[in-house]
């Protein structure tokens, strides 16, 4: 405790010192005052429909920070995209490249890439920011000091789905005897929510039906929806990605499944996903943790400083789409982490190890959100040393036929159900990966 408070005081002193120095001499940002941030993107391949808006959002927010503020406290962010095509082999190449170029943070942008990068990152000391994807168990900061998975994990998402179901039915006790269908991509990403849903089903007395979709059959879901018609589930939760989502929405419309009972995970919330269903897709829902639309100061700033100046890759009408805004949200986490790392270490140009400390003590309050123009855009973010996800609030977004709207209040995940499973799985992971390093990184108290 003593040590941490000392470091903190030292850090604060240095930060103030730096501030004074910066204020007194107002040195123009030198060329070397920059940090390198490599981001995986997939603008090609079968999943590019989702990858493009996300990549655009991430890129535009960083560009905006560089353009409007001249970087983070004068430190420019050198942003570079590495094209993965959502392919694990290419993602691993991108990781090696990012490491060689000294990235301060690695954002894998696919569950496969995250799983492959986790062991490496703990050796190479590069923090991974897998925003609401990747390995759910990595929310345990004691086992995974280098992985961050804010604002919530897939397991939290599944529990929010259950809570949403209960809210609509009128209470947790009403879940008894209901049937929840899980449509999922037949791959690790798709199967993530199964264990937690089965736990919750046991506890609340509802039934879980699984409907796997093989990757080769993403656009060929005929027999699956026949099974759904036979089983008549009360709700459907869609853990899908890419071309699978628009097909699912279309099939739901086609098969007369009540579209407002179909809820997608946040990655099934692309504008293109819902648009595919046409007018009948009105009422399609998806979990969400960022707001859609351009009605926020931050998006307006992006339009003003980036899009209107022709520095964006996104067409103007795509700015503010749900997945675009999610990219913005992810970049915001990175920028805030840099800021926090600067504050903790007192350095201007931070390294990967500083970033880890910055992320671990990340505390984005409601007031801070307002300052950066994101009031109502997202819920506050707070990460601690042991909890690398935060298990933060999500809400249910609803498609109104042309855009995503807020379909429910912010809801907390069932943290008390999820957390023990996460800790058990993290322990299991460390055991199976014999020789897993024990956490030696000190813990900074959030400031």
């Amino acid at each position: 405790m003593r040590r941490t408070s000392l470091t903190r005081r030292a850090a604060r002193g240095a930060a103030i010192g730096a501030l004074i120095a910066a204020g007194a001499f107002s040195v123009p940002a030198l060329a070397q005052d920059s940090v390198y941030f490599a981001n995986n993107a997939y603008r090609t391949g079968p999943f590019s429909g989702s990858g493009i808006p996300i990549g655009d959002g991430m890129r535009d927010y960083i560009t905006m920070i560089n353009e409007r503020d001249g970087g983070v406290n004068g430190v420019k962010i050198v942003y570079e995209e590495c094209e993965t095509g959502y392919d694990t082999k290419k993602s691993i190449e991108c990781y090696e490249q990012a490491k060689a170029k000294g990235t301060i943070i690695y954002s894998p942008w696919s569950t496969g890439a995250t799983l492959a990068a986790i062991p490496r990152a703990h050796v190479d000391k590069i923090p991974i920011l897998s925003m609401a994807y990747g390995l759910s168990a990595s929310a345990d900061g004691n086992t995974f000091p280098w992985v961050f998975i804010p604002p919530l994990t897939y397991w939290d998402g599944a529990s929010v789905m259950v809570r949403h179901m209960a809210n609509e039915l009128g209470g947790m006790d009403k879940l008894k005897g209901k049937k929840l269908g899980l449509i999922h991509l037949d791959a690790p990403f798709g199967k993530e929510p199964i264990p937690i849903l089965e736990n919750l089903a046991k506890k609340y007395g509802f039934e879980v039906k699984l409907y796997p979709v093989a990757a080769a059959d993403m656009q060929n879901q005929g027999s699956l929806w026949l099974s759904i018609r036979r089983d008549r589930p009360d709700y459907l939760y869609n853990q899908g990605w890419g071309a699978m989502n628009p097909t699912a929405v279309k099939e739901a419309v086609k098969n007369g499944f009540p579209i407002n009972k179909l809820v997608g995970v946040w990655w099934a919330g692309g504008d293109d996903d819902a648009r595919a269903g046409g007018a009948e897709a009105k009422g399609y829902k998806s979990l969400n943790f960022n707001a859609a639309g351009t009605n926020f100061p931050v998006i307006q700033d992006i339009i003003k400083h980036v899009v209107d100046k022709g520095k964006s890759l996104a067409p103007k009408d795509k700015v503010g789409e749900n997945l675009y805004n999610r990219g913005v949200y992810n970049s915001m986490l990175v920028v805030e982490a840099i800021r926090n790392a600067q504050k903790i270490t007192g350095k201007k140009v931070v390294t990967g190890e500083d970033m880890r400390r910055g992320l671990e003590a990340l505390n984005i309050t409601e007031a801070r959100l307002k300052e950066i123009g994101m009031e109502g855009f997202a819920s506050p973010v707070k990460i601690t040393c042991s909890d690398h996800s935060g298990h933060l609030k999500a809400y249910v977004a609803e498609w109104d036929g042309t855009k995503w709207t807020k379909g429910s209040d912010w809801m907390d995940p069932l943290k008390e159900e999820v957390r023990p499973v996460i800790e058990a799985n993290a322990k299991d992971y460390a055991e199976k990966n014999a020789g897993w390093p024990k956490r030696t990184e000190a813990c900074d108290t959030p400031s």
Partner: protein, 318 residues
């Protein structure tokens, strides 16, 4: 005992107890089968005339559909876009013949197969750089394709026939019939069959192989466009559609690489077989068996008739 019951009795009990679902499953299988048959047809056309196993058929489907939608997005009216796309497919056929096939004439089959892989790679890059990778809506409404469903009350339940599926079945059938007539009764069709029988004999009676190749590749391009429109209307147009083309492979081994009727019958058999299998037997082992079931059906069949359903009997001599 319980397992045997679950495998051999229970699925049939289910079929009996909900006959409307059985009819629906059969219908879904038939529609899927028609579409598989369409893709397989593209393969067969080319294989018959030039002995090329065309790996690029899948990407041609995507490319055709993307061109159509891309042109429409650029402001070209829907029907004109269709004709322009046909023009593009014709150009593609000419280019492939000129650049790829002609220099490779007389090479072993596997080399030509490899060359179509080169075409695939090229078209992926080319298509994405032209149209971008994001999925696009098929302009089904603008092309006059119907929406919605016809629901028929029968057998104590209801069976929903999607209008788009009906349209797909009708168009595919018309197309297949048209191709059959074309092959059977036109001059070019006869030339095509001659080439399929023997390249050398056809050459010796003055049939231009190069011309025939352009025609079959163009025909495969038309088939690809129709397939692209139909699959695109069912889900959407993206590069993921390429994977769907793999579904045509078991159809091909079942029906034979050289037989048009084989592609149709094979397509229907595979479509119905895999839907029934997935729906009634899939849950027993966790579902998702559709991805390989078709291959096992085809494989089991092949062990008894190695040349496929309607394939030519292979006579080997030393």
């Amino acid at each position: 005992m319980g397992t045997l019951y679950a495998i051999f009795v229970d699925p049939f009990m289910q079929m009996g107890s909900a006959p409307d679902l059985l009819v629906q499953t059969l219908w879904e299988g038939l529609v899927a089968g028609v579409l598989y048959a369409l893709i397989a047809l593209g393969f067969v056309l080319i294989f018959k005339a030039s002995g090329v196993f065309n790996f690029a058929q899948g990407i041609m489907v995507v490319f055709a559909a993307l061109t159509l939608v891309g042109l429409y997005e650029k402001g070209v009216p829907a029907w004109i876009a269709v004709f322009l796309t046909l023009g593009v497919m014709f150009l593609l056929a000419v280019t492939i013949e000129r650049v790829v096939l002609r220099p490779l004439v007389n090479q072993p089959d596997i080399i030509l197969f490899m060359a179509t892989f080169g075409i695939t790679y090229f078209l992926i890059g080319f298509g994405e750089s032209l149209f971008g990778g994001n999925p696009k809506q098929m302009i089904a409404g603008e092309l006059g394709l119907p929406r919605g469903a016809v629901e028929v009350k029968m057998l104590g339940g209801f069976v929903a026939f999607q209008k788009i599926d009906i349209a797909a079945a009708v168009i595919a059938s018309a197309m297949i019939a048209g191709l059959a007539v074309f092959f059977q009764y036109t001059r070019i069709g006869r030339a095509l069959r001659a080439v399929a029988d023997s390249h050398k004999a056809a050459l010796s009676v003055g049939i231009s192989l190069n011309q025939i190749w352009v025609i079959v590749w163009f025909a495969a391009g038309i088939v690809a466009l129709v397939t692209g429109i139909m699959w695109g209307a069912r889900s959407d147009v993206s590069f993921a559609l390429e994977i769907v083309a793999l579904k045509a492979l078991p159809v091909l081994i079942l029906g034979g690489f050289t037989s048009v009727p084989g592609a149709i019958v094979g397509g229907l058999l595979i479509g119905v077989g895999e839907k029934l299998g997935e729906f009634y037997w899939g849950p027993l082992i966790g579902g998702g068996i559709e991805s390989w079931l078709a291959y096992f059906i085809a494989l089991a069949f092949l062990l008894f008739r190695p040349q496929g359903l309607f394939g030519d009997k292979i006579i080997e001599r030393i």
